[in-house]
């Protein structure tokens, strides 16, 4: 029973929103390679969604292109989620390993990513009056992914529903803490840099004079 290939597992997990991840866990399935592919596709989806959108919906600022924001919006954010979830759930008796959290969360993102690609393509064929169709697709994809993420966290840590809710909430808090620490760290590095550069300037000046 359930001797699926990796591709079939992905399809199964996405289409069976409640028991999909449970079965995956029971069968110890899910591949890291597929998960990586999904995240890379997520990255490209974000770029396509911003850059290749139909001009009738919005005028893209296509004078400059900076890849960093897209990178942060997708890959960095996802990594932060993974690390945050792992660190929270290790304390809260979660059974998931970092690897499993990564894989399951990535699988859960598939409807959202798909929605982005579909809408980007559709935006070239529809006009503003028909935007409601795209909106429908967007809402469906986003909600679907939200339920899947919840289901993934629940399955990977073997939590009850209530505990899953609190875990998701705490993960978001953890992500914010990480952000705060990052800012603190950046400020510190800047201070050190200024200190070093001041000393350097001073020394150079003394040597010259």
């Amino acid at each position: 029973m359930m001797n699926f290939t990796q591709k079939q597992w992905l399809k199964y997990a996405v289409t069976h929103i409640f028991e999909g991840f449970e079965d995956m866990r029971w069968k110890k399935s899910g591949s890291l390679k597929t998960a990586f592919c999904i995240i890379v596709l997520f990255f490209f989806a974000e770029i396509a969604h911003e850059r290749l959108y139909g001009f009738q919906f919005y005028a893209t600022y296509d004078r400059t292109f900076n890849i960093i924001p897209y990178f942060i919006k997708t890959i960095v954010l996802f990594m932060a989620w993974t690390v945050g979830n792992w660190s929270v759930c290790t304390i809260l008796d979660g059974e998931g390993t970092m690897k499993n959290i990564f894989i399951y969360s990535a699988y859960a993102l598939v409807p959202y990513i798909l929605q982005m690609y579909i809408n980007t393509v559709l935006s070239h064929f529809l006009v503003r009056d028909e935007y409601v169709f795209m909106q429908m697709i967007e809402i469906t994809g986003t909600l679907w992914s939200a339920v899947l993420i919840f289901s993934a966290v629940k399955a990977v840590h073997q939590y009850t529903v209530l505990k899953t809710f609190s875990a998701v909430f705490l993960t978001v808090v953890a992500m914010f803490i990480m952000l705060a620490l990052l800012i603190l760290f950046m400020a510190l590095v800047q201070q050190v840099y200024i200190f070093v550069s001041t000393i350097y300037t001073e020394i150079i000046y003394r040597i010259r004079v």
Partner: protein, 485 residues
């Protein structure tokens, strides 16, 4: 071979030297760089729509030199200048060559004579001269024979706060003879008087901008006692600085660095701002750091003028820029600067237009700078005029001409796209709408393009669809059949 080479080199050199000379003189003519805003809202160099022709001082026209003149008005034949420091109104002929009349002394109705004290505004209509006699706190309506018809002084009305002074700075009158005056230190709009000089009320006041502070104060006021409220600083709108009348509309401008909304308003007879619901902005989007004053200057539009063809000319007193918009508030040209040279201003105070010329009065240089339309300006103006009156197809060639001369001229891309859309050339309309950055127009063109495409190719699309369905069914059946075996 060598000879040919030398000949060739000479030709190139000649072209470079003379070609450069020609363009250099053209560039050096103005002390400012004419620019325009591209579709992203960034300033880009642009062809000049106006070029300064000459400056006229008081001595040039045969009157003594001006002293801090503050208003200029053109009634169709003559110019009238409010020569504030000399306490007089100077009339000049339409070519700004000879003084035609100087008003200094007026005969009151009781036979006595009166003089002006720092008049700041002048307006002429139906042979009546309206003078904002600022320091005398009155508005004078005089006829050509210097006889005072009506004298309007501080209104004795409940609406008018009697503790406030009455300092009329600008005055205009509409067709019915109603008089409007901009008053110094009054923030509730301009005062409106009946033709007989009775105070009717205030007209067209600015809104208080909903800044965070204003909104916060509103909520705080709910919980405050009246006593405390009375002691607090009140949120008041900025007062109107200048205005002009065109047909049934009064255009006002407000020179305040802190106000972003209501800088330019188009008021109908009920005092409602027609531009209020539209997403339009006036003046510079972003000002350059001023290296001589060590700060980013504040934009402040101090006077406004509506030309005969409906274009709106705004004068920025701080940067010396003149902005010209068409009647739909699309930016056409920017010119002028603060400079010592011809074409620059020190302290521009008023703007007026007549025909193809724009006149700017400078209260410190004490002269009038005359700007005249270039051939590029003429092309743009005729294109805009045709376009705004609905002759889209006719405007198309002119738009192409504008784009040929200045490829950065954003508004021309909009015009071309719309003209092409009307013409039925949807594909090119899409192209130009994209270049204009106008996604709404692109949407319209694309909608039409798509429906035409679907109509033309419906047979092909349908065939492909059916073939695809048949093929899929065939595949399914074969798969099933294969399994059965």
């Amino acid at each position: 071979m060598k000879r040919i080479f030398i000949k060739f080199l000479t030709v190139i050199l000649v072209v470079i030297v003379f070609g450069n000379n020609i363009s250099l003189t053209a560039v050096n003519a103005s002390p400012y760089i004419s620019y325009n805003y591209d579709r992203w809202g960034d300033a880009v160099p642009s062809q000049a729509g106006y070029i300064e022709k000459r400056t006229v001082s008081g001595d040039d026209i045969g009157a003594d030199s001006f002293d801090e003149p503050s208003d200029i008005f053109f009634d169709g034949t003559d110019f009238y200048i409010a020569d504030t420091g000399n306490n007089r109104i100077v009339g000049v002929d339409g070519n700004l060559e000879n003084v035609s009349v100087i008003y200094e002394k007026f005969k009151m109705q009781d036979g006595s004579f009166t003089t002006l004290d720092n008049p700041e505004g002048v307006f002429v209509s139906d042979d009546i001269i309206y003078i904002a006699d600022t320091q005398n706190s009155r508005i004078l309506l005089v006829n050509r024979e210097c006889k005072v018809i009506t004298e309007i002084t501080k209104p004795d009305s409940e609406i008018y706060d009697s503790s406030k002074t009455f300092l009329p700075e600008r005055v205009i009158a509409d067709k019915a003879g109603n008089i409007y005056a901009v008053l110094g230190n009054i923030t509730t709009g301009c005062a409106m008087f009946s033709p007989q000089g009775e105070f009717i009320g205030f007209y067209g006041s600015n809104r208080v901008e909903p800044t965070a502070e204003a909104v916060g104060n509103y909520f705080r006021n709910v919980f405050m006692s009246d006593k405390k409220k009375a002691r607090r600083k009140r949120q008041v709108p900025s007062g109107i600085t200048g205005f002009d009348i065109k047909d049934d509309f009064i255009f006002t401008c407000t020179a305040s660095s802190s106000v972003l909304s209501d800088t330019v308003k188009k008021l109908n007879s009920a005092g409602k701002n027609i531009f209020a619901d539209r997403d339009v902005s006036f003046g510079d989007y972003e000002l350059k750091y001023d290296t001589s004053h060590y700060k980013i200057p504040d934009s402040s539009i101090c006077d406004i003028d509506i030309s005969e063809n409906g274009n709106i000319n705004c004068l920025d007193s701080v940067t010396g820029h003149i902005f010209q918009y068409d009647e739909d508030c699309n930016l056409l040209f920017i010119m002028g600067t603060v400079a010592e040279q011809k074409g620059g201003f020190k302290s521009p105070s008023a703007i007026e237009s007549a025909g193809e010329n724009i006149y700017v009065l400078d209260s410190q240089k004490n002269n009038i700078t005359v700007f005249t339309e270039t051939s590029f300006g003429k092309t743009v103006h005729s294109a805009v005029e045709l376009y705004n009156t609905g002759y889209y197809a006719e405007s198309l060639d002119l738009w192409y001409e504008v784009l040929r001369r200045d490829g950065n001229y954003t508004y021309a891309y909009n015009g071309t796209a719309f003209a092409l859309l009307r013409k039925g050339d949807y594909k090119n309309s899409m192209k130009y709408a994209k270049l204009a950055g106008n996604s709404e127009l692109y949407n319209k063109a694309f909608k039409e393009y798509r429906s035409v495409f679907l109509k033309e190719n419906s047979g092909k699309i349908f065939t492909v669809f059916i073939v695809a369905v048949v093929f899929m069914v065939f595949l399914k059946i074969r798969k099933r059949g294969g399994r059965r075996k």
